[in-house]
Symmetry: C2
Subunit: 227 residues, 2 copies
Amino acid sequence: VRVAVLGTGDVGRCLAAELAEVGHEVVVGTREVEVTRARPAGEHASFDDWSDAHPGVGLATYAEAAAGADLVVNAAAGVVSLEVVAAIDPADLDGVVLLDVSNPLDFSAGFPPTLTVANDDSLAEQLQRACPGARVVKSLNTVSHTVMVDPSRLAGPHEVFVAGDDADAKQVVTDVLVGFGWSPDAVVDLGPLRAARGAEMYLPLWLSLMQALGTTEFNLHVVRGES
Amino acid sequence: VRVAVLGTGDVGRCLAAELAEVGHEVVVGTREVEVTRARPAGEHASFDDWSDAHPGVGLATYAEAAAGADLVVNAAAGVVSLEVVAAIDPADLDGVVLLDVSNPLDFSAGFPPTLTVANDDSLAEQLQRACPGARVVKSLNTVSHTVMVDPSRLAGPHEVFVAGDDADAKQVVTDVLVGFGWSPDAVVDLGPLRAARGAEMYLPLWLSLMQALGTTEFNLHVVRGES
């Protein structure tokens, strides 16, 4: 499977590395390749240093990365995600599974952030409207990038959610999740893409929990009654 | 402790019964006592039938119930909660702990509901502004009423959240939760009342989970990493 990962931050790098590790052909998409390559090391390694450690992963513009991809992963920041997918030729997204792992966090007024969209809409639905030919699936946005690709970092059962309007696309994403180490039982289907609202609106609680626990390494286990 | 429980629905009844069971003096508050008493049995028992089974629990208007109460529990529907507390003499709420267990669900456009307030505000904060003398604590809104008062219905650890600006008030609420059977370790302090936003914005995910699991008898366990 050829995969385009949109976004060169921690989330994009982590997903790209793991997708390559499990055997996919992966290209990371960015706005301008030379700008990304020229950016010095800061909160994380320079892209070239990271790239040296992951020689199988390519770097291209958003449009070039998505051309010919079977799966496109939106790992860009929520606030720029619509702009990112707008750079892609709509024909290249026709029928493609678009896995959206982003969160519509607005840090413009500081921490804690608010959401740029909530309640009667979601970023995933905005992306679906912006890319009507794609089959958008929301998943993985409820865990830190380290947990996304290695659920065994947390002991005992815990779950990840999928939401989307296309059952086959949700199965493609579920297979990717299982490839990352998620048990099929740990993948909870929330239903249609509209349910992405709930997955995204969980973020304020996630951020409070992060502060209360002092770590990003946690996740939810849904404990069910006997009935 | 004298407790006023505002609201005569399933949540109010369940909390009132349990609070009386553990030894508190409990009065349920309603808009008009005679209207409540005259309402026939429907989705639940008539109030008089319920009352016969809980002879220690009184019924009074919102204002009468709150007068002299040490703890006021808002178990009214979210959409009417501001109206409900407006019926109470502000002097009767001065210094009182106001435990808000409600959710700002708007079912006017059908199921699933949206929230009447979200993202940059919450119902709990609206209640705090409406009742500046009260010490508002958000809790219990993330579980069904049956789980609120009997966490042992679900096997294994699972958590309940508290959010509020007054540490003593949060301790009062924590004591109530422990009285219901919650382990002190299961009470997660999310921080200031602003964190009620996250607890309330979890509801759309709760509703999707309810549909996916086919039950209201579930809750979250926050699984933490080793670090």
